[in-house]
């Protein structure tokens, strides 16, 4: 490339850059083709894996097959196919995964209720179906469990509704009260809706509380949890806490071992979204108190501040935890997501791609009647051995 390019040459080069990586001057012809062909794009449907994996094919497949035996092999394959199809239909109820199983509810203490029906202490576990609510009063507790998901303990004065239960997504709603969740399902499978945020399990155990006014808090004891509302995300790793407020969504998470002044700064910062002077004072307090371990909070503050305040957060964060290769000050100040993700991953608190995967696969609204798999997925499942 020379510095004496004529304008048409420069224009051509810029348009070639557009074909390469979308930068430079957009080429109208390519843009038109992109628009025209967009309907052919992959739909990002979820992958449906078989319950049991088929064995890997032999490396020697085909090498020792005598061509003369092919007709016999074809007959054998046909017999096997008939046998397989017969077996499939006779075993169908066992091989097709359950799409809408009820969850088991057990009485731990007092008289928890499903709807208006009390669960006695001495009765066998009851079933909670999609749409039903379990509630506890001041002296009752219950547990909610599903074999492939985990266990949720429901504390006194709580209301929990089961919203969704399909193979890839289990969803409950916590209106008020406290739950302790111990989840062994894959990250992103278990979701809890609360009045002020959605909690997404990313492989963990945690306690979630919702107050009567809809505000809430989460405390993670193992793994990490994502807290999400209207595009605002907070990640809460083990040992950390985060509060959430109606309409404001999740606040800045922090480690419980942070200094009292740092925690006080976060509380003031989160509770004064409109008061810029109070927020500035709180931010200054946090930045002066921050330790390397508080990088968790500083990372979140980057996206909750603007202008000069974001630059201050960057400076303090970079001084405590130098940004990894590929992360620049300019990129972070512009909230470049890939750079933010790189920096997050360098903290060793969890791989953020797990979260991005959840974001891509999450349905925008919980469906109270999502127990049925789409027809195409059902047919795919039926094809599995």
């Amino acid at each position: 490339m020379t510095t004496h390019q004529t304008d048409p040459e420069k224009e051509k080069m810029m348009q070639e850059n557009y074909l390469w990586d979308g930068s430079g001057t957009p080429d109208p012809e390519i843009q038109r083709l992109e628009t025209l062909l967009a309907d052919f794009r992959g739909s990002e449907t979820a992958l449906v894996l078989p319950a049991e994996l088929p064995a890997a094919p032999s490396k020697f497949r085909g090498v020792f097959v005598n061509p003369l035996s092919l007709p016999r092999l074809a007959v054998a394959a046909a017999i096997l196919l008939v046998f397989g199809v017969t077996l499939f239909f006779t075993m169908q109820p066992k091989t097709v995964p359950e799409t809408g199983p009820a969850w088991e509810v057990a009485n731990i203490q007092g008289e928890p209720q499903i709807g208006t029906k009390a669960i006695a202490a001495d009765q066998a576990p009851s079933k909670l179906h999609v749409g039903q609510m379990i509630s506890t009063n001041g002296d009752s507790r219950a547990s909610l469990s599903q074999a492939d998901l985990g266990e949720i303990r429901i504390e006194p004065n709580s209301r929990v509704r089961l919203l969704q239960t399909d193979p890839n997504r289990k969803r409950i709603q916590l209106d008020v009260g406290t739950i302790h969740a111990a989840i062994w399902a894959p990250p992103g499978t278990f979701v809890v809706d609360t009045p002020s945020a959605v909690a997404i399990d990313l492989g963990c155990a945690y306690t979630l509380q919702v107050a009567p006014d809809g505000s809430g808090s989460i405390r993670t004891t193992l793994g990490w949890v994502g807290f999400h509302l209207n595009g605002r995300d907070s990640f809460i790793p083990a040992g950390a806490m985060c509060s959430t407020r109606r309409e404001l969504g999740p606040g800045v998470p922090y480690f419980e071992e942070a200094t009292p002044a740092f925690r006080e700064g976060i509380a003031k910062f989160d509770s004064n979204p409109q008061d810029s002077s109070a927020r500035s004072a709180a931010l200054a307090m946090m930045l002066s108190e921050a330790r390397a371990q508080d990088a968790l909070s500083l990372w979140h503050l980057l996206s909750r501040t603007t202008g000069a305040e974001r630059a201050q957060v960057y400076a303090r964060f970079a001084a405590l935890v130098p940004p990894p290769r590929g992360v620049t000050r300019a990129g972070i100040l512009n909230l470049d997501q890939s750079m933010l993700d790189l920096w997050w991953n360098s903290l060793g608190l969890g791989d953020i791609s797990v979260w991005r995967f959840w974001e891509q696969s999450a349905s925008p609204q919980p469906s109270a009647n999502s127990q049925q798999l789409p027809q195409k997925k059902q047919s795919l499942l039926k094809q599995q051995p």
């Binding site: 967009a38 309907d39 793994g223 405590l320 791989d351 791609s353």
Partner: protein, 210 residues
């Protein structure tokens, strides 16, 4: 200073796949986790590579069959993943499975089911009627896709990934395991040939850019 992961090692999530400790490519740790049976990791690989697989297949087989074949490719890849010795070769390895699956698709097709542009267009209309395009532009979209498919292998694949799947050149290189140079050259040359075909097929100018 010590990495925060060391400071807080006791809090590391057991189910999270941590790519930051990996010294290889960005997806190496995911591939290793998937090799050891971690289905969530395989799900992430699917999320990252399904567009690439979709594009490779779309460059070769009728649109109406692509979604099912994408699933097939990943279901074929899963049990074989353990045999992949160099995890960094996963992108190219997966791309090869996709290309082989497309070849296999045509080999298994009956003679009278051969790739027929008109029936493909008709099928595609049935499966994915465009909500954004008029029937005229939908027909034009099929014509453009057919024109891309008529290009040599080396050109049609990157063009489909770029123009249909919306991937950038660097992404295509990373996902397919090809070098930046070859992807760039193939995109450039493929685009030149595509412009030529579309210009040749175009009826007398009607004001469109093509």
């Amino acid at each position: 200073m010590a990495a925060l992961s060391e400071i807080r090692s006791s809090h590391a999530g057991p189910a999270a796949v941590n790519a930051c400790n990996d010294t290889g490519g960005p997806d190496d740790s995911l591939v290793r986790a998937a090799q050891s049976g971690d289905r969530a990791a395989f799900g992430l690989l699917y999320a990252r590579y399904s567009r690439m697989v979709h594009g490779i297949l779309l460059a070769r087989v009728p649109f109406s069959d692509v979604d099912d074949l994408v699933q097939d490719v990943f279901l074929q890849a899963l049990p074989r993943l353990a045999s992949l010795r160099e995890v960094s070769r996963f992108p190219g390895w997966l791309a090869s499975i996709a290309r082989n699956r497309a070849t296999d698709f045509h080999r298994r097709a009956k003679p009278n089911d051969e790739f027929d542009e008109e029936s493909v267009a008709a099928q595609s209309e049935l499966v994915a009627p465009s909500t954004r395009h008029s029937s005229h532009s939908s027909a034009e979209a099929h014509a453009v896709l057919d024109a891309i498919r008529s290009l040599p292998d080396a050109y049609r694949e990157p063009l489909v990934l770029r123009l249909v799947e919306g991937m950038t050149g660097p992404e295509i290189a990373a996902r397919t395991g090809l070098t930046h140079g070859s992807v760039r050259v193939n995109l450039h040359r493929g685009m030149l040939q595509l412009r030529e075909i579309l210009g040749r097929n175009a009826s007398p100018p009607a004001g469109g850019a093509l």
